[in-house]
């Protein structure tokens, strides 16, 4: 059975992506969480970094978030713009946290991680931002998104070398 939204799943350039049955995003996201639960437990220090990120976001602390990145990191959120370098990244978070995301709360859960090479891990996760206000002051529904982050080891801690996050589009015909 050919469903139109089956097409989008391979759109993904380079990508991969599961059209396995062409599930709507919601179901697949849940699967992604369980299917991908890689061997071994997530390093607690990786989750600790996610917690630090969330704490800084929730405090409206753009500099605090940027400090979790490497000096030459790159970062791109749901708007698709790529910000390079800790300073640009800090400015971007400041714009968000003083603008559309002012007063919001983020929660982050890491769903899988794997080592790409010694001292470098790729981490997949999901996030949820609550408390956004619409143009007329109305409360917006939570924004749920996905993120993939490259972390590099810096002594005892991890720093974000590259971050991509996005709000999944809904498969047409699903709610």
């Amino acid at each position: 059975m050919l469903k139109p939204w089956c097409f989008i799943s391979f759109l993904t350039f380079a990508a991969a992506v599961a059209s396995v049955g062409c599930q709507p995003a919601g179901e697949v996201m849940e699967e992604a969480v369980t299917e991908e639960s890689m061997e071994g437990a997530l390093d607690a220090s990786v989750q600790a970094l996610a917690d630090e990120y969330a704490a800084a976001w929730n405090a409206g602390d753009a500099e605090g978030i940027a400090a979790l990145y490497t000096e030459d990191a790159d970062s791109s959120g749901p708007d698709g713009e790529i910000y390079t370098g800790r300073q640009q990244i800090a400015e971007h978070y400041r714009e968000l946290l003083e603008g559309p995301d002012v007063g919001t709360t983020i929660s982050i859960r890491t769903t899988s991680s794997r080592e790409l090479e010694p001292g470098v891990v790729l981490v997949n996760g999901g996030f949820e931002v609550t408390g956004s206000m619409g143009a007329e002051g109305e409360e917006m529904p939570p924004a749920k998104g996905l993120s993939t982050v490259i972390l590099v080891q810096d002594g005892d801690t991890w720093r974000i070398a590259s971050l991509r996050s996005w709000i999944p589009v809904k498969a047409p015909g699903t709610t």
């Binding site: 989008i8 759109l11 697949v28 708007d79 090479e117 470098v120 924004a143 996905l146």
Partner: protein
């Protein structure tokens, strides 16, 4: 004598810098070739050739959040995708930026678009952004992860 040493040191430094730059550009070229090979294999509907461009442990997540993990699953994904794909469907992509995180790890961002898909009234996006993380293993650059995103402009509506 001191001047000679200085000239030699400067030359060595220059050569050293040159060698480094050349190494990076050779890797950059190899990474760009990876995308070219992807496009060729995709237009040939060659799932096996596509899968060979991915690292054994590679994963992909698309703009809807659908995920696939591992080279074998990726090949299966492409096989299934091509079964549903109209012959006239085409994929275009263009690299927008490429950055080395380490000598053996780079992040590549680009845009993709698709043509030749059946008209639907469901507003299916036919263009977006992609990010691939590529790794050099055994002297060969491979996709370690692929992500596809449709940008949304704030304030968020969903």
């Amino acid at each position: 004598m001191r001047m000679l040493v200085s000239i030699i040191m400067t030359s060595l430094g220059f050569l050293g810098g040159l060698t480094l730059a050349q190494d990076t550009s050779a890797d950059e070229e190899a990474i760009r070739q990876l995308d070219e090979r992807w496009k060729e294999a995709w237009s040939n509907r060659d799932a096996q050739a596509l899968a060979e461009l991915f690292a054994e442990d590679a994963d992909g997540i698309d703009a809807m959040g659908a995920a696939v993990s591992g080279r074998m699953a990726i090949e299966e994904h492409y096989i299934q995708s091509f079964e549903n794909l109209p012959p006239e469907a085409g994929a275009e992509s263009e690299i927008v930026s490429l950055r080395f995180i380490r000598p053996t790890l780079a992040v590549v961002d680009g845009t993709w678009s698709m043509t030749g898909l059946p008209e639907t009234d469901e507003g299916l996006p036919t263009e977006g952004l992609y990010t691939v993380f590529v790794v050099k293993r055994g002297g060969q650059w491979l996709y370690a992860a692929g992500r596809s995103r449709i940008p949304v402009s704030p304030p968020r509506t969903e």
